[in-house]
């Protein structure tokens, strides 16, 4: 009995110390990010940032475009054929904005980024540790957090915000153009109603969500990447952990932000 209690106690203590460690790690990232932004560091960090946006943002654009286009078309076609039967044709705009701008836009882009970049970052950093590349940085006095983590942190967050914008661009406007072929609507009427339905809170909520998800994904992925100690077999394990944890944290954060929005 006492052994069980001891085990539970130990586990709680380990959990608490890990939470503190993670919080300290996040704090460190924030401090270094502040430094990175304040005094434009030497070219290398900037270059990593650009490449990170290229890999995380630009290369995911295709997937995002397809998903958001399809989603938008489905909502418009379904909405504008069913809703007028209840005399609620205008609800289609509210539904579009709720689904694309507020809910699915941020969370779907986050999921895609987790699958693409979360794993990539965790694997890359794990490899860098196993091959002692991190130690090589330290030996030159180059802070790995400042030069490896911060550009990824910023890159993923910026990419996520931008991809969310593109998701909206394709989901709201692209899908409208596609719908024209199947189910013609008046362009001016569509845009006017959409812009009137779109509230500042919608835009704000969407942006806050994508920024939060970006922070969660980059922090989790780099945190687990750095958890690798010495062997390459740990790398797939941490990649899986990074993905799983990112998913859970993103969904929890999503629920929390949505609740805050409605409360």
């Amino acid at each position: 009995m006492s052994r069980i209690l001891e085990q539970i106690g130990n586990r709680i203590l380990v959990g608490i110390s890990q939470a503190f460690y993670a919080a300290g790690y996040f704090w460190e990232i924030l401090i270094e990010t502040g430094r990175f932004i304040r005094k434009r560091q030497f070219g290398y960090g900037y270059r990593v940032l650009v490449m990170q946006i290229l890999f995380t943002g630009v290369e995911a654009l295709g997937v995002i475009a397809i998903i958001s286009l399809a989603l938008g078309v489905v909502i418009i076609v379904q909405g504008s054929s069913i809703l007028p039967q209840f005399g609620q044709g205008k609800l289609v705009y509210a539904i579009l904005i709720t689904i694309i701008t507020r809910e699915l836009g941020p969370i779907l882009t986050a999921f895609i980024i987790i699958a693409r970049s979360g794993t990539a970052i965790a694997t890359e950093l794990g490899n860098a540790i196993v091959s002692h590349e991190i130690e090589a940085y330290i030996s030159f006095g180059i802070n790995p957090i400042a030069y490896l983590i911060v550009p990824r942190f910023l890159g993923v967050t910026i990419s996520l915000v931008l991809l969310n914008l593109y998701f909206n661009l394709f989901g709201l406007l692209g899908s409208f153009l596609v719908t024209q072929f199947i189910y013609p609507l008046q362009m001016q009427e569509y845009l006017y109603n959409l812009l009137n339905t779109l509230k500042t809170q919608d835009v704000l909520s969407s942006l806050v969500k994508s920024i939060t998800f970006g922070i969660i994904i980059s922090t989790t992925a780099t945190y687990y990447g750095f958890k690798v100690e010495r062997s390459t077999t740990e790398i797939p394990q941490v990649a899986i952990k990074a993905v799983g944890r990112s998913f859970i944290l993103c969904i929890l954060a999503d629920a929390m932000i949505t609740l805050v929005y409605y409360v």
Partner: protein, 358 residues
């Protein structure tokens, strides 16, 4: 080196700029559409109660939303003071002596806060001034002094009533003409001796009464009207048969002579009065003849007007049925707000399945 790697900065630059541009354009358009940058002119008003008022409630003018309520507060005198704004584009419409009216619909739908412009065009009144509401003495005074005019509003129910009105009027007119005609008939028959004719007279009186009661009851119950009209018709048939009877009596000279001689009891008088009696009889017969002609005319007129009356009744009935539908619809549809939308003929799917040939 791969194209993507070599031009990484340029590609990322375009990626970022397009994204930022998109959100900027959206925000600017939202701002313009939702009037973030336009100036609003604030005013105050007072109501006896906050019932039906709420913050954010739109203020309309001729169907346009021109402003919104921003604040409701209870004053120490227990009246409700509201703060509201008028959009800059509508500000020049705010003449002196304008008032606000809280319109409520008998069905509780489609009401709103309506702005009524002062009658005389003036410079717009300064910001933060007081615009009285119709529910306060100031507003009522302005209305009574004809400084402001409240146009007749139309909602679903008034429209419906408007549709029934001309039908009823039409019906009324027909009945009035029937009435006057019967009046002349009565006048011509008044005071004349023979019993069948007196019967005719009484019957005519009954008709007039009937018609009068019909006209009165029309405003209360249109359904009853049809029955009454049938009553009129049967009455008229009775009149006709009575008249016929009278005519037949007159046709038989012996019976008539006997009857005529009877009161005096002496034939001598018949011959001694220098044809006075005969002349009298002849005059009566002439009058009866004229009356009969008039009656014929009347019955033929009634024959022609009867379909018109029936038509008018049918129209009224349809209008009422339509009104019933509308009210039923209003009661049943919880989504409906702001009037009745144009009906869209929607083929029902149930019908489709049945009708289709397999």
């Amino acid at each position: 080196m791969k194209f993507k790697i070599r031009f990484a900065s340029q590609i990322v630059g375009v990626f970022v700029i397009v994204g930022v541009l998109f959100i900027t354009i959206v925000l600017v358009l939202m701002g313009i559409n939702q009037r973030w940058f336009a100036k609003n002119y604030y005013f105050k008003s007072r109501f006896p109660s906050a019932n039906g008022l709420s913050v954010g409630m739109p203020i309309t003018f001729k169907g346009f939303t021109i402003g919104k309520i921003t604040k409701l507060s209870l004053t120490p005198e227990n009246t409700v003071e509201i703060d509201f704004y008028i959009q800059d584009t509508f500000y020049p419409k705010v003449y002196e002596n304008s008032i606000l009216q809280l319109q409520s619909n008998p069905l509780g739908l489609g009401g709103g806060l309506v702005f009524h412009q002062g009658k005389k065009p003036t410079e717009p009144i300064p910001e933060n001034s007081f615009i009285p509401s119709l529910d306060t003495p100031e507003g009522k005074y302005l209305l009574e002094a004809k400084l402001v005019e409240i146009p007749k509003t139309e909602d679903a129910v008034t429209r419906l009533l408007g549709e029934i009105d001309p039908i009823l009027e039409n019906l009324n007119r027909v009945l009035i003409s029937v009435n006057t005609l019967l009046g002349t008939v009565t006048a011509s028959l008044e005071g004349k001796g023979p019993s069948p004719l007196a019967g005719t007279l009484r019957q005519s009186e009954k008709i007039t009464e009937n018609i009068a009661s019909t006209t009165k009851s029309l405003s209360q119950s249109i359904d009853q009207l049809l029955a009454n009209a049938t009553g009129i018709t049967t009455n008229l048939t009775e009149i006709t048969s009575n008249l016929k009877e009278g005519t037949e009596v007159l046709k038989d000279p012996t019976g008539l002579v006997q009857k005529l001689l009877d009161p005096k009891g002496s034939l001598a008088t018949f011959f001694d009065d220098n044809n006075r009696l005969f002349d009298q009889i002849e005059g009566i017969l002439k009058e009866v003849h004229a009356n009969l002609a008039e009656l014929r005319q009347f019955s033929s007129f009634l024959n022609t007007t009867q379909p018109r009356i029936l038509g008018a009744l049918e129209e009224g009935r349809q209008a009422i049925r339509k009104g019933h539908d509308v009210l039923e619809g209003l009661r049943n549809n919880p989504f409906l707000r702001g009037g009745i939308p144009p009906k869209q003929p929607i083929p029902t799917t149930q019908k489709g399945y049945r009708m289709e040939e397999f």
